[in-house]
């Protein structure tokens, strides 16, 4: 074969590959695939969720199929990794194989909505496709996480559980080290840090008084509400900018970073499962209500309880959020998907099972006040605090595109610069703010 022939053939292969790739990527032009209502009776719908929630959803599906024997819900387990999950949804979008109903999450919701992956549920709810349930019945801030930034009248997902964070504390460890001051509802952050340090010191470092509130620096569910309590903001949708380097935020960072070494032990770049409230060697930890069943299962002979998060200047610092369920725009079984959601969100049907099986707190006023989620046998004796927390919780800020990932990376780096390099807090977080704002400007085209 001559070298010219070789070159021509190589070029042909490359062109073919290009054509295949570009057609594969662009062939599924958003908005060109239309779903269909389909039939409800005798239907089969596919529901995809993350691995960790799959066992719960299999039980929900079984309960639904018991109630409606001629309908089938096939639960598919995906991954627990957020990046992989969005990749799998994208692959499903490209190949036209999206599930009918799927797990959605606040930081992905806007992207899925913008790219016409998720169906706008608002008109269907108004038409009564969820029975008597209306959007107004849901806690507005939890539904707000599924309102696209550019089209806030739409709702592309429905929250499953009104989860918020609380202060988990291990009374056994408090008693063991002679600390008689248990967390109270009127505690401030200074109280929490002070007692945390007392326990760490009293145990000689064997026990962590307070699990690092910031984690590796990426825990927005903690730092978001604290920054807000100081009067700052993480992301302002009106100006499309981040304020993590503003003076109010710097005060918040200084407070949260002060926990390292004194109350929380040394910084760890990746989560350390051996330093965990479940492991029994942490006296206090800021954690989500969703973790209650796991703590119950692991801390069997330990006396522990929960308390509302301490305040700052009288402001709540509880963060919250909920994963949601969405219907694919391309689903050809949309009526069957609606039928499942109608059953699932019914307080006397699916939500009852969700409370029993998954400990979910129904994200409605009625569910919070009258749900059976409060009827768990202690510990924790004080589980009712999560009802009030859900109402006052500061939810994760929805940010456009993938800028929340940039925020996570930037705050983690700034945290490490302060803790590991001794960099000035204001300098580190002002630089982080500049990085996030540059990404926001690129994303929003401003």
């Amino acid at each position: 074969m001559t070298s010219r022939t070789t070159r021509i053939r190589a070029a042909a292969v490359l062109l073919t590959a290009t054509a295949l790739t570009v057609s594969a990527c662009g062939g599924n032009d958003p908005g060109t695939d239309e779903g269909a209502a389909g039939e409800v009776e005798g239907s089969t719908i596919v529901l995809t969720t993350i691995t960790g929630l799959a066992p719960q959803f299999e039980q929900y599906a079984d309960a639904y199929m018991d109630a409606f024997p001629d309908r089938t819900v096939e639960v598919r387990s995906s991954t627990d990794d957020a990046a992989e999950y969005s990749q799998q949804l994208a692959t499903g979008r490209i190949s036209g194989e999206l599930p009918d109903v799927f797990f959605n999450v606040d930081f992905l919701a806007d992207t899925l909505a913008t790219n016409n992956v998720t169906l706008d549920l608002a008109p269907g709810i108004e038409e009564g496709k969820l029975g008597d349930l209306r959007l107004d019945d849901f806690l507005p801030q939890f539904v707000g996480q599924y309102r696209p930034l550019d089209n806030p009248e739409q709702v592309t997902g429905l929250p499953v559980s009104a989860d918020s964070v609380g202060l988990f504390y291990n009374k056994t460890l408090f008693d063991q080290y002679g600390i008689t001051e248990y967390p109270e509802a009127d505690w401030t952050w200074d109280d929490m840090l002070r007692v945390g340090e007392q326990i760490t010191t009293a145990s000689g470092g064997d026990v962590i008084g307070l699990a690092a509130p910031l984690g590796s620096g990426a825990d927005q569910i903690v730092f978001g509400p604290v920054i807000q309590a100081f009067g700052g903001f993480v992301y302002d949708p009106d100006t499309q900018t981040s304020g993590i380097g503003q003076p109010e935020a710097i005060e918040a960072w200084e407070l949260m970073l002060s926990a390292f070494d004194s109350a929380s032990g040394p910084y760890t770049a990746t989560p350390d499962p051996t330093v965990n409230f479940n492991a029994g060697n942490v006296a206090m930890a800021i954690a989500s209500r969703g973790g209650v069943p796991q703590v119950q299962a692991t801390l069997v002979d330990v006396d522990w309880d929960v308390q509302v998060l301490p305040t700052i200047d009288g402001n709540s610092t509880a963060g919250g959020g909920s994963y949601g369920l969405s219907i694919a725009q391309t689903s050809t079984n949309q009526d069957a998907a609606w039928a499942f959601l109608a059953w699932f969100y019914d307080t006397d049907a699916g939500m009852l099972v969700a409370q029993e099986v998954g400990g979910a707190i129904p994200p409605t006023e009625d569910g919070i006040d009258n749900g059976i989620w409060r009827d768990v046998s202690p510990p924790p004796a004080n589980i009712a605090i999560f009802g009030e927390s859900a109402r006052t919780a500061v939810l994760l800020t929805q940010m456009p595109g993938a800028t929340s990932a940039v925020l996570t990376e930037a705050t983690t780096t700034a945290t490490q610069q302060v803790i590991l390099e001794g960099r000035d807090v204001a300098e580190a977080f002002q630089e982080a703010e500049a990085i996030v704002n540059a990404a926001l400007a690129e994303e929003t085209g401003e």
Binding site: A17, L20, S86, T268, A269, T270, A405, V406
Partner: protein, 325 residues
């Protein structure tokens, strides 16, 4: 004095070509032979085609597609938008790319030479008849049995600041161990040690294959000349496995460039302060955390060029060495 040929010449020598005597027909060119060779070629093609097709469809085409995406803006969900060389230009002005390139180079520099040295020594030990070497032959293979993910999790536990085995052992010796994976100074060496450990089985196997090809008689000759064990190891064994060493160096360089990704992802997620974020991990984060597929593809393209340069560089060096005899 021994009259043996120069050391190392035999193992690396090319087989002598067999030529037909003058005036006789070349048996390889007879019609019967030609037919047989055609049948052989067809048979080989028949067996190779499914694998080649699979390789082309699932590896080559997606890889080419990935390279093409370097010229597009794409967030995984929307329609790709052609941006020309924008991402390639961005590569050279992105400080994180330069940091990741430095980390990748450090992984290669810190990892390849120790892997070769330790692998060679262990292969010589495994190849010997020392007492208890049978147990060692089983043990050296163990890192290969565990997947990279499992091995990484095991090493994360070994490196733990609180309760990790390494710090416990150091504690018995009166040394306070560092917070290995969260310390900007220690995180990178800690990962390199783990990567060397996981690379050793393959290196040892390759060296064992190389050692089997070293003729025994050169050792007998050297012994007659009074060479000791260390002298034989350094002056005879080592030069005779030179071609294996070159192969291992290339394989390990490529492995430390691209294979460091999963280890760093699991053990440190590229931290602290980016000290363990290689180009491959940076590319992964850009693709799947920030959904900037175009730029991630440009990073992968850059990494491919680096690997090609290394392979070509080694080939040129080997060629030059051959030409100089």
């Amino acid at each position: 004095m021994s009259t043996s040929p120069p050391l190392g010449a035999q193992a690396d020598a090319e087989p002598l070509a067999v030529r037909p005597a003058k005036g006789r027909p070349d048996p390889a060119r007879t019609p019967g032979r030609r037919r047989a060779r055609r049948v052989d070629a067809l048979t080989a093609g028949f067996f190779m085609t499914p694998a080649l097709l699979g390789f082309a469809v699932f590896v080559i085409l997606p890889a080419l597609g990935g390279l093409v995406l370097a010229f597009f803006d794409w967030d995984l969900f929307g329609t790709p938008e052609f941006v020309g060389l924008e991402h390639i230009q961005r590569l050279f002005t992105d400080p994180v790319m330069w940091q990741s390139l430095g980390v990748t180079a450090a992984f290669v520099l810190l990892g390849v030479i120790p892997t070769i040295a330790i692998g060679f020594v262990l292969a010589v030990v495994v190849n010997s008849n020392l007492p208890g070497v049978g147990v060692f032959r089983v043990l050296y293979f163990s890192p290969m049995v565990a997947s990279a993910a499992v091995a990484a999790v095991i090493w994360v536990n070994l490196y733990r600041y609180r309760g990790g085995l390494i710090n416990q052992v150091l504690g018995w010796l009166g040394i306070t161990g560092p917070n290995w994976l969260s310390d900007p100074v220690w995180a990178r060496p800690a990962l390199v040690i783990m990567m060397i450990w996981s690379a050793l089985p393959l290196v040892i196997i390759l060296y064992l294959a190389g050692l089997q090809r070293v003729p025994e008689d050169i050792y007998s000759a050297a012994a007659l000349d009074g060479a000791g064990k260390w002298r034989m190891l350094w002056s005879m064994t080592w030069p005779n496995v030179r071609s294996t060493t070159v192969l291992i160096a290339v394989l390990q360089a490529v492995s430390f460039i691209s294979g460091s990704f999963e280890i760093a992802l699991i053990m440190t997620n590229g931290g602290p302060l980016g000290t363990t974020q290689s180009l491959a991990l940076y590319s992964y984060k850009m693709a799947f955390s920030q959904r900037d597929i175009g730029y991630a593809s440009a990073l992968s393209l850059f990494q491919l060029v680096l690997i090609l340069l290394i392979v070509l560089g080694v080939r040129v060096l080997v060629q030059l060495r051959k030409e100089r005899g």
